[in-house]
């Protein structure tokens, strides 16, 4: 229905939102660049878009940026995968086995509500500053959205479907794979979107603390040596990665489960 009306509208009306958005971004960077024509420019405290752009080009051509991102991506991948592998089954069992849910819900709520980042110094002491420590921090931060969303998803399963499978002689296994998992999937993907943000926090915390490489380390090192152009370059890189990850998941939610976001 939306497409029908949209096709009859003129180009500016159709893409009004996108146009206004891009215009605002361009204006923002132009204003940032232009303000230093009036205000004195101190490269130790602020940078300008032209310098940031050339700093970024430097980082990309020298390969430093890719190396740092690749180093950070390894614990991110491990921690996030572990969060999915442990969080989703735990959440499903909590939702399906009522007593398990009763037993674990308060405990998990306490963990979820407490700022687990505060355990980062301990984790670093126990497991060092390498991949292991960072992976554990990322896992701790990103596992709870999976647990709670899988839990909520199972409880939202249509009881009628369960009864139908049972009446037709389906086994417990059939219930899990044919009813529960498909209806829980949208919840899990929504949980993944929240977890990505928290996992990125884990990457940064791990690398700010003690690391010798990685994108978070690069940001704090460039800050320490007042190389603000390259620091902004790394910050923008993280922003782009974060937006691509979250919006990518959002897009896949819309595409794969259109009935969830339609209303």
């Amino acid at each position: 229905m939306m497409d029908d009306t949209a096709s009859r509208l003129s180009f500016p009306t159709r893409y009004r939102k996108a146009l206004l958005g891009s215009l605002a971004v361009v204006l923002f960077f132009a204003a940032w660049q232009a303000i230093f024509l009036v205000v004195p420019f101190n490269p130790l405290f602020i940078s300008k878009p032209s310098l940031i752009a050339s700093g970024l080009v430097d980082l990309v051509t020298s390969g430093d940026l890719f190396r740092d991102v690749a180093v950070s991506a390894v614990p991110f991948f491990y921690g996030f995968s572990a969060a999915v592998v442990i969080g989703v089954p735990l959440g499903i069992v909590m939702g399906w086995r009522v007593r398990v849910g009763y037993a674990l819900d308060p405990l998990m709520t306490v963990f979820y509500a407490s700022p687990l980042v505060a355990l980062a110094p301990l984790v670093v002491i126990f497991f060092g500053v390498g991949v292991g420590g960072k992976t554990l921090i990322i896992f701790l931060l990103s596992v709870f959205p999976f647990i709670f969303n899988a839990y909520a998803g199972v409880r939202a399963v249509d009881p009628l479907l369960i009864n139908v499978v049972r009446s037709l002689g389906g086994s417990e296994r059939d219930l899990y794979f044919k009813v529960i998992l498909p209806s829980v999937l949208p919840y899990i993907v929504a949980g993944a979107r929240i977890a990505v943000g928290r996992a990125l926090i884990g990457v940064l915390v791990g690398e700010f603390f003690a690391a010798s490489e990685g994108i978070g380390y690069a940001i704090s090192r460039f800050g320490d040596i007042f190389a603000l152009d390259r620091m902004f370059g790394c910050i923008i890189t993280i922003m782009v990665i974060a937006v691509v990850l979250t919006e990518g998941i959002r897009w896949s939610e819309r595409t794969a489960f259109p009935w969830r976001t339609a209303h």
Partner: protein
């Protein structure tokens, strides 16, 4: 952006259904959730407490290990000697100032963006980018600009808390009933009148949910900011303790932060219940 809140709301909405079913059953069944919930926590604490006594540990591991009774002891000493109040005050003031500024900025801006499609389209790229990015990424920059003191912490708390408030206010304002707005407008209300009579009351539950998320982010902001660049506060005490292997102090600090976070969230939940009492759908939920 709003699905996060929707999922949380789902969890919250599903809870009363269990309580609804409970009273018709026997005593054991009625108290089963509470007993099992508390039981699992107690069992965990007991295992943690007695495991080191049953197993012999290497001298090196013992240095890094602590048990709940030790943590409780440390916590008690911190409160009894009053040693906790000063750093807690430092952390709390950063939290309070940052959160207040976030509310003062986020609420009007959210209402404005909800009422104006053009402004919303212009701000949307920035909100999406800043909301997706961990705010922690700006910490080195903020330290450079604002120094190690209170204000860099306030800034981190502010950036963290602003977006949940802003986004939820915007969502609530956008969902206001068009018919009600048109009625009020037909009777000659100004834009201010529409905001006061229709838009804000409708958005209140959303705003409160945003506030709840903002509190969590603000606590996180205080902790993280104090870890990496500060000279006073509870977070600083925790980092120093960790580097001296005083694991019990780290856990004591974590418990204080968690308790504060739960307390604030609980207060907001009370506010939420109070504010949505007049809502018809809420009545039907009881």
């Amino acid at each position: 952006m709003s699905e996060i809140q929707a999922v949380n709301a789902n969890i919250a909405a599903a809870a009363p259904a269990d309580e609804l079913a409970a009273p018709s059953k026997g005593v054991w069944q009625r108290f089963e959730p509470t007993l099992l919930g508390c039981g699992s926590i107690v069992v965990l604490l007991l295992v943690w407490e007695f495991l080191p006594r049953l197993m012999t540990m290497q001298e090196g591991t013992k240095l890094f290990f602590t048990v709940p009774s030790e943590i409780g002891d440390t916590l008690w000493t911190m409160f009894a000697t009053g040693a906790i109040w000063e750093p807690l005050g430092v952390s709390a003031s950063a939290f309070a100032i940052g959160l207040s500024i976030a509310i003062v900025v986020g609420l009007p801006l959210g209402i404005l963006l909800g009422r104006s499609a053009a402004l919303n389209a212009m701000f949307d790229p920035f909100i999406t980018a800043f909301n997706a990015t961990p705010r922690l990424v700006f910490l080195p920059l903020l330290l450079l600009w604002l120094g190690l003191g209170l204000w860099s912490k306030v800034a981190v708390v502010f950036i963290g808390a602003l977006f949940p408030i802003l986004i939820n206010t915007h969502e609530g304002v956008r969902n206001a009933d068009r018919v009600l707005i048109n009625v009020v407008r037909s009777f000659g209300a100004t834009e201010w009148g529409i905001a006061r009579l229709v838009v804000v009351p409708n958005a209140l539950p959303y705003i409160v949910v945003g506030l709840r998320l903002a509190i969590g982010r603000a606590v996180l902001g205080v902790v993280v900011a104090e870890f990496f660049g500060s000279e006073a506060g509870l977070g600083v005490i925790m980092v120093r303790a960790a580097s001296r292997f005083q694991v019990d102090v780290v856990f004591a600090g974590l418990i204080v932060f968690a308790a504060l976070s739960l307390l604030m969230t609980g207060l907001v939940k009370l506010l939420e219940d109070r504010l949505s009492r007049w809502r018809p759908q809420h009545v039907s939920a009881i």
